[in-house]
């Protein structure tokens, strides 16, 4: 199924043809982005395998510079490239003049563990067998239902060419599995777990087992006493807080235009001195790792917050140029509220793989000892409703465990958590070991996160 994706060389040739067409149509400079991806997935619902699906998509976006002005247009069929180029040139007249130029060729860095040929050989029947195995794990617990779940894998390739000689491409694979469990008797306790990787190495049985255990452990929750307290955010809970609140505050244009809580704070302490946040597009097995970004810039590891000091905002080429900074390799093409790359948009600034760590890394049981009394949360509902400009949040969590005397003592009922996330990062208690890959929900930003304990969160 995944073999329907054209070889990289063909996509590169198509990108070069598009550049040539745009130049002939009158563009002073042209850039073409051609992407093609395929996915294969098998899903289950209420203990039953529903079927298998596949999707193949290809598209091309043309960006032109005409009289120092930028224009963009896209299409899904190569036959419409001439018209697409004309549209891009027409639209350029609306843009303000600028100094952006499309770069030439270079040799991109090598990124480890983002392409696994084994994934290309995945057959539909293999996926079905894997889902059956996961289902069997959940059904090993008589009282549970596998409400939703499944496995999937994919291959994506993209090429970027410019009229200044760039002729680059990148490819990657991915695989993932997830499970959502609940009780046969409809007790309002649920469990979930996801595993995501670029390689064919995800632990599907472990995923099913973790989802089962979470439901079993969270049965019969008791009320959490409200107050100001430490909260341990597990990776899937914290990723959505980072995605909607922190990541936008790291973007160079927002920082420079005074729209970020980190505006004017470069070089200043903004978080606990023990805290580090990196954006690492070269991260081996990173869900958003690639040798280049979506405008062909070599990928990098960028320190954003190091030892609590706000170090470096993220830029693509346009915003870098506007604010007198170098691009950090964060030019990503995506549509609003969409988690996948898209040829339908020109590049904009987006984080790649946000990696968090601290000088206070310890096993989870030690982290709980540091916390002493508080709660541990596995999920967050409503992080996208937070105010990204201020960093203020007020969210719900419904998979909650109580921490007393430094240990988990039982499940808690749903709570609301409120606070200001940038301020909360000053109250770091510590981070756990073994960070997980987590992908963004409504953006292509990805994460490699440990559990993180923050003090002084308002719990209602």
């Amino acid at each position: 199924m995944l073999d329907q994706v054209l070889p990289l060389e063909e996509l590169k040739a198509m990108a070069c043809r598009a550049v040539e067409i745009a130049t002939k149509k009158g563009a002073d400079q042209a850039e073409a982005f051609v992407s093609m991806d395929a996915s294969l997935s098998c899903g289950l619902e209420k203990d039953a395998i529903k079927g298998v699906g596949t999707s193949v998509s290809m598209g091309m976006g043309i960006r032109v510079i005409k009289d120092r002005r930028l224009g963009f247009s896209y299409a899904t069929e190569e036959s419409s490239l001439p018209e697409t180029a004309e549209q891009a040139i027409k639209l350029a007249r609306l843009s303000p003049p600028g100094d952006l130029e499309f770069p030439g060729d270079h040799t991109p860095p090598v990124v480890e563990r983002i392409f696994d040929p084994q994934i290309l050989n995945t057959t539909p029947s293999t996926l079905v067998e894997w889902v059956k195995d996961m289902l069997a794990v959940v059904k090993g617990h008589e009282e549970l239902v596998a409400l939703e779940g499944g496995v999937g894998c994919g291959l994506d390739r993209f090429a970027v060419a410019t009229s200044n000689g760039m002729d680059l491409g990148a490819e990657g694979t991915d695989s993932g599995g997830g499970m959502y469990t609940m009780f046969q008797d409809l007790a309002p306790s649920t469990g979930f777990h996801f595993a995501e990787s670029r390689m064919a190495d995800i632990d599907l049985l472990g995923t099913a087992e973790k989802a089962s255990k979470m439901a079993l452990d969270s049965r019969n929750p008791s009320t959490v006493e409200p107050g100001l307290m430490p909260v341990v955010f597990m990776p899937h809970a914290f990723s959505s807080m980072m995605e909607f609140i922190l990541a936008p505050a790291f973007y160079g244009d927002k920082v420079k235009r005074g729209e970020s809580v980190y505006s004017g704070r470069e070089g200043m302490e903004v978080a606990s001195p023990e805290l580090d946040v990196f954006d690492d597009a070269l991260l081996p097995d990173g869900l958003n790792s690639a040798p280049i970004d979506d405008e062909g810039v070599p990928s990098k590891k960028v320190p954003i917050i190091e030892n609590g000091i706000f170090f470096n905002p993220l830029y693509d080429r346009s915003s870098g140029l506007e604010h007198g900074a170098e691009t950090t390799g964060n030019g990503i093409r995506c549509l609003r509220w969409s988690s996948s790359r898209s040829f339908k948009s020109p590049p904009g600034v987006k984080a790649r793989n946000l990696v968090m760590g601290s000088g206070l890394t310890m096993p989870l049981d030690e982290l709980l000892k540091e916390v002493k009394k508080g709660i541990l949360v596995h999920d967050i509902l409503g992080a996208h409703t937070a105010n990204p400009a201020s960093g203020d949040f007020s969210v719900n969590s419904s998979v909650v465990f109580k921490i007393e005397r430094g240990e988990i003592t039982g499940p808690g009922k749903q709570v609301m958590l409120s606070g200001n996330l940038p301020d909360a990062l000053r109250e770091l208690i510590g981070t756990g070991e073994r960070p997980l890959n987590v992908s963004g929900g409504l953006s292509p930003v990805s994460f490699r996160l440990p559990s993180i304990a923050l003090d002084k969160i308002v719990v209602t």
């Binding site: 298998v52 509902l381 409503g382 203020d392």
Partner: protein, 490 residues
């Protein structure tokens, strides 16, 4: 069988011409779909559904007065969904040069690969396939409006907003698009539709010293440029700027349990999150909702009725046919407090022994239909806003939405307000910030104790489910919840 108004095919396609797209969308017959359908039957599919979709439109973004991006694009793609050996097979592609026969073969192969899997076989209700053509003509086609005019509109909003004190930045975006879909299915459906949406939205950031705050507004519908004659986006931008400056410097909202009044926008988001997702047929049939098996039960007081209406003219969440080619109609989810109807697709309705009601939606050709909402709203009540407020000693009045989220299996939901006010001794007093509300679906619906007499379909939104995003409209009158959990930092 259902038949809708059929218009002259050629005339309609020529009408789709636009100045920015010099060539009209190619006139295309249905040979590709027919061929695919025949192939599916030949290969033994018990049900097959072929969808081919085209989209074209513009998107512009202006930030602090300057154009950030202008995009024109078009795309075409198709998908095949089949039932073979009692399982679904789905294949989508936007490589249509060689038609969809290859996708049919793939889909059947995929369905058969899971034939041995555990669980009941899948069937669909084949009744009531739509036959016909619905073209939603707009008064002022955005494709006939020059891109300069679209640009000018955004610049004008920017200028008006930037004049206000404390506004740090403003980003406005404009999007229009026409979606044409043809669906042919083995149960006799042959539905063609065209719908156009136009939307403007803005995000403002206000700043006062280190105090910084964001605010957003949106206007949109299944309408063309005439939408801006009905609602002035510049005025809407100015209102948003005044609101954000009011909130700047306001104290945080207290956390705890309070009586809450929500405005129509927020009442819409409340009913979308707290009720709508929990009555979606696929979730209900899977037993993944606290409202599974509750048809006919009282969920809310007598004065609460809730509707989902994809036929509401001009609303953002409206659609002509659903994506399984079932004709659409207005659905009454709650009638005078009693749960009366779920939102059903062809599979979930059969599993539940009910009839499909046109609620199958898909983001685009690349995804399979799910049961979804359209325009969801609480019906008109009879209480005035003043009477609602006068009954509250200490409470919160919440306005404007930041969106929300729900876990239907657990029955918990959360949603955020853009602005909040304290209610003291029956009067709305000071402005507060950072308010959100959460609760349990069943408890909260029961605690709606007043419904206003000022029904309004709120602002347009996008609803995400299983990785698919679809346009929706939510609304209602002002409503009062007599006790709700409010999250804030105060």
């Amino acid at each position: 069988m259902y038949r809708v108004e059929v218009k002259d095919w050629d005339a309609i396609v020529e009408g789709a011409q636009s100045p920015i797209t010099p060539t009209p969308m190619p006139l295309r017959g249905r040979e590709m779909e027919e061929k695919a359908l025949k192939e599916a039957a030949r290969l033994g599919a018990s049900y097959a559904e072929i969808r081919v979709e085209e989209r074209w439109g513009d998107a512009l973004e202006v930030k602090d007065g300057e154009l950030e991006k202008a995009v024109h694009g078009r795309e075409r793609g198709g998908s095949v969904r089949v039932l073979a050996d009692g399982r679904w097979g789905f294949a989508s592609t936007n490589r249509l040069e060689n038609g969809l026969v290859g996708a049919v073969e793939t889909a059947i192969k995929l369905a058969r690969s899971s034939a041995s899997a555990p669980g009941d076989t899948v069937e669909v209700d084949e009744r009531n396939p739509a036959v016909g053509k619905i073209i939603w003509k707009v008064e002022k086609s955005p494709h006939d409006t020059s891109v300069e005019e679209k640009h000018r509109l955004l610049v004008e909003i920017n200028r008006a907003v930037m004049e206000k004190e404390h506004i740090q930045s403003v980003t406005t975006s404009y999007t229009d698009g026409t979606r044409s879909v043809r669906i042919l299915s083995s149960n006799g459906a042959e539905a063609y539709s065209e719908e156009t949406r136009t939307v403007v939205q803005g995000v403002l950031v206000a700043r006062d010293g280190s105090d910084i705050l964001g605010y957003r507004f949106r206007i949109g519908g299944t309408r063309g440029f005439e939408i801006f004659d009905k609602e002035d986006p510049v005025e809407k931008g100015i209102e948003a700027a005044e609101a954000v400056v009011r909130i700047l410097g306001a104290p945080p909202c207290p956390a705890g349990k309070f009586p809450v009044i929500t405005d129509p926008d927020l009442a819409g988001v409340f009913v979308h999150e707290a009720l709508g997702h929990a009555v979606e047929g696929d979730t209900i049939a899977a037993g993944g909702s606290v409202l599974s098996g509750k048809l006919g039960e009282r969920l809310a007081p007598e004065n609460v009725s809730v509707y989902d209406d994809p036929t509401h003219k001009g609303a953002f969440g409206s659609y002509p046919f659903d994506q399984e080619a079932t004709p659409t109609r207005k659905k009454t989810i709650i009638e005078r407090g009693v749960l009366t109807e779920y939102l059903l697709d062809r599979e979930s309705s059969l599993r539940l022994g009910l009839e499909p009601n046109g609620s199958a939606r898909a983001e685009d050709y690349s995804s399979a239909p799910q049961s979804r909402m359209s325009n969801t709203y609480i019906g008109q009540g009879d209480m005035s806003f003043e009477d609602m407020v006068s009954g509250i000693k200490l409470g919160i009045y919440a306005k404007g939405t930041r969106g929300g989220q729900v876990d239907p299996a657990k029955g918990t939901f959360q949603f955020g307000a853009q602005e909040a006010f304290l209610i003291e001794k029956g009067e709305v007093t000071k402005t507060l910030r950072d308010m959100s509300l959460s609760g349990n679906i069943l408890d909260t619906l029961k605690s709606i104790d007043a419904v206003g007499n000022d029904l309004r379909l709120g602002d347009p939104g996008f609803c995400g489910k299983g990785g698919q995003l679809v346009p929706v409209g939510d609304g209602g009158p002002h409503i009062r919840i007599h006790m709700a959990t409010v999250g804030g930092r105060g």
